[in-house]
Symmetry: C2
Amino acid sequence: MGKVGITETILRDAHQSLIATRMRTEEMLPIVEQLDNIGYHSLEAWGGATFDACIRFLNEDPWDRLRKIKEKATKTPLQMLLRGQNLLGYRHYADDVVEYFVQKAIANGMDIIRIFDAMNDPRNLETAIKACIKEGGHAQACMSYTTSPFHSLELFAKDAKVLEDMGAHSICIKDMAGLLKPYDAYDLIKAIKETVKIPVQLHTHYTSGVASMTYIKAIEAGVDVVDTALSPMSGGTSQPATEPLVASLQGTKYDTGMDLVKLSEIADYMRPLRDKWIETGLLDTKMLGVDANALIYQVPGGMLSNLVSQLKQSNALDKYDEVLKEVPRVREDFGFPPLVTPSSQIVGTQAVFNVLMGERYKMVPKESKGVVKGEYGKTPAPISAELTKKILGDEEPITCRPADLIAPELHTIRAKIEEYIIQDEDVLTYALLPQVAEKFFKMRKDGTLNQVEETPAPKAAPAKTEVAEEDDDELVAVL
Amino acid sequence: MGKVGITETILRDAHQSLIATRMRTEEMLPIVEQLDNIGYHSLEAWGGATFDACIRFLNEDPWDRLRKIKEKATKTPLQMLLRGQNLLGYRHYADDVVEYFVQKAIANGMDIIRIFDAMNDPRNLETAIKACIKEGGHAQACMSYTTSPFHSLELFAKDAKVLEDMGAHSICIKDMAGLLKPYDAYDLIKAIKETVKIPVQLHTHYTSGVASMTYIKAIEAGVDVVDTALSPMSGGTSQPATEPLVASLQGTKYDTGMDLVKLSEIADYMRPLRDKWIETGLLDTKMLGVDANALIYQVPGGMLSNLVSQLKQSNALDKYDEVLKEVPRVREDFGFPPLVTPSSQIVGTQAVFNVLMGERYKMVPKESKGVVKGEYGKTPAPISAELTKKILGDEEPITCRPADLIAPELHTIRAKIEEYIIQDEDVLTYALLPQVAEKFFKMRKDGTLNQVEETPAPKAAPAKTEVAEEDDDELVAVL
Ligand SMILES: [Co+2]
Ligand SMILES: [Co+2]
């Protein structure tokens, strides 16, 4: 134990969680040098939904953002969030795309790559971890936090060991819905620290109101690094605030060594931006509150509101309690996946169907079938032979890693947009977001990129249709 | 150690801190029975600035509010905040007024009276404590939390013993500015619990962002009760949220035994009110943020913004750093008073004068003189003979309790408003708020009380002129 490290999320997760990822590069650059001088463990500044948001909403090249931030942050490691074999896109990609993406991220300035998988299937992390190690980056492997009768301290510790053995430089417990309570965090961090030798980091969100208490107990249990956001962009669906944690640890054996006055200068820069975002409606004040329902049902707050709206559409809001009871049963049937995107939607929708149809699994959406078939990877617990038979019929489940079925695709993808390429990275942008990237490239070619209107104020969260594609683990909390 | 008690502040401090004390009785009554069924240690529902706000802004009789709440809260003790010899008004009152007020508060339904004094002078608490004991109430004596080279764990423990010996049934550490950090809270509570036998309660505000962490460590140190507010009215300048703390303690030896589902039903009632207050501007979103500056300077956030505005008025904002350094020196000269209303304003203004005049104590406002003279009571540390001489000249300081100089006044006060009295309590209302009460009584007589317009939306905090009189310890955080 000793000095605790802090990852500042203000350039990535904080604005992704509070203002639908709409912070612009030009709004970031004036404070990057100051952030760089604080002595943070790292600056989370890229990845997650920022890649998509740059291209889709801000007419910005995400690679360009990375290079510009790196130019000003010369001392503090930059960090990004990567969705394992899904990279920053919405499907499993071939290994050659994953390897090339990681190579280019590091070549453009990325230092620490936090890699996670919605199913917690380590095979979905492996290519990215290996690529990161090969390119000289720091590979941080994630476990999505969840609770279930199947999940135990032993299971998390065992999974952490698997990731360490895979070569990960550090482990991250990723609690995207703020479900991890303080004394549970203490036990969890203890169990993992006793099992692995590499550093352990904790990532959570303030959504349910327990996050800063959870950090205190995790720190006492020996966690090495925690994620916070400077106060103007903290709380609510974002991370706990940086300054109060730094102040709380001052003079204790966990002292971060960071300077509160310097932090307050950066907060002074951010506060008018916060005010502006509140005024335009981009920052909905609902995002700033505490939603304790997640603590009652142990499911993300966003999933609960999705259930309500699905039931409303079917004029069946009176079935809400029944659906709430069905959710854990479906989750058990599906092998206790962590409730993050997309599994939270899949489990929720299946629970709604099971209740509304009056018969379980009478109606099975293709995404449910995908889970049972193994298209997303291996579920934490096995799925019973009966349910597999009922849902797949005679179809065989996939037992290999999903990406093993995808042939190398980089060459084909490059061929498709040859005419637009002005930098190597363009092929990756296109691989991840084909339609949006093509539109972006055309505008870039026509010189019309700068004609971007002021941020379209999507009264808080982006519209449903956007979400489907923009989706990210984090957004589930925002939905 | 064991079961932790919770005082719910949603009916008093939460709305005082977030919406300038404007919650109406009719908005409270629909949830009082539900609150009463939770199993709270107590419901803070009266006192502080609510008395003034009822009469001045809401055209409500505060005594009537108390009786109506009591009618629905038959199981849970009601709690109020009382400013010692100042009661709920703005000067020291004669003992007969204090005694009569306490008698009537208890007769109308009050169970626990939390009594504090801005100077932490126990003599200013004594009459109220004794009266509360005599009337069969629970007398909770406060120590305002503050830090200074003079303040130590030993001093707080010693002061707590004085209050216990005075007959107090419990002790409250009152941290109105959110200055108490988690590990300091641990040591403080330990020291006090080792010294007194009566229960110890902790009251703080979320303002600086440390409050929920502070509660966790205070609870581990053995604090008996903490103050929280249900989530829709929590955070920012209010208390930490109730539900996340309850959830965090569930299943531990500190379990509150409270039911999260029942709490969520009350939160469901409050959430639309919060939304309405945000929409009308009564709840300024600035109140919901974290202001970490208090942690840097160990002074309330509101005091810092007051200094800035005073300096702006004098076109001397460039002197801000100098004034910040002068503040602790003035505070030392004045015997290290806790920085609450009115001492925070007095110390701040004197520091500004000292810097702007280029000579210390060249200009001394009458309030500064009052502190040195002893008009507010005994300062924690003695004031030097040199400064006393410099400021008072040949005038003698007051060494007795200030109220010892006030003759019984109840009779005279009653005579003045005989014509309006319809209940015994009216004389107390008039004693505390003469002008406002008279206006209220006239309207009551004319039958025009109900012609109150919708809450005048004072874009967040009330205007300066109102504040001067409405002032309360708590308001300093809001200013
Ligand atoms: Co996150
Ligand atoms: Co208070």
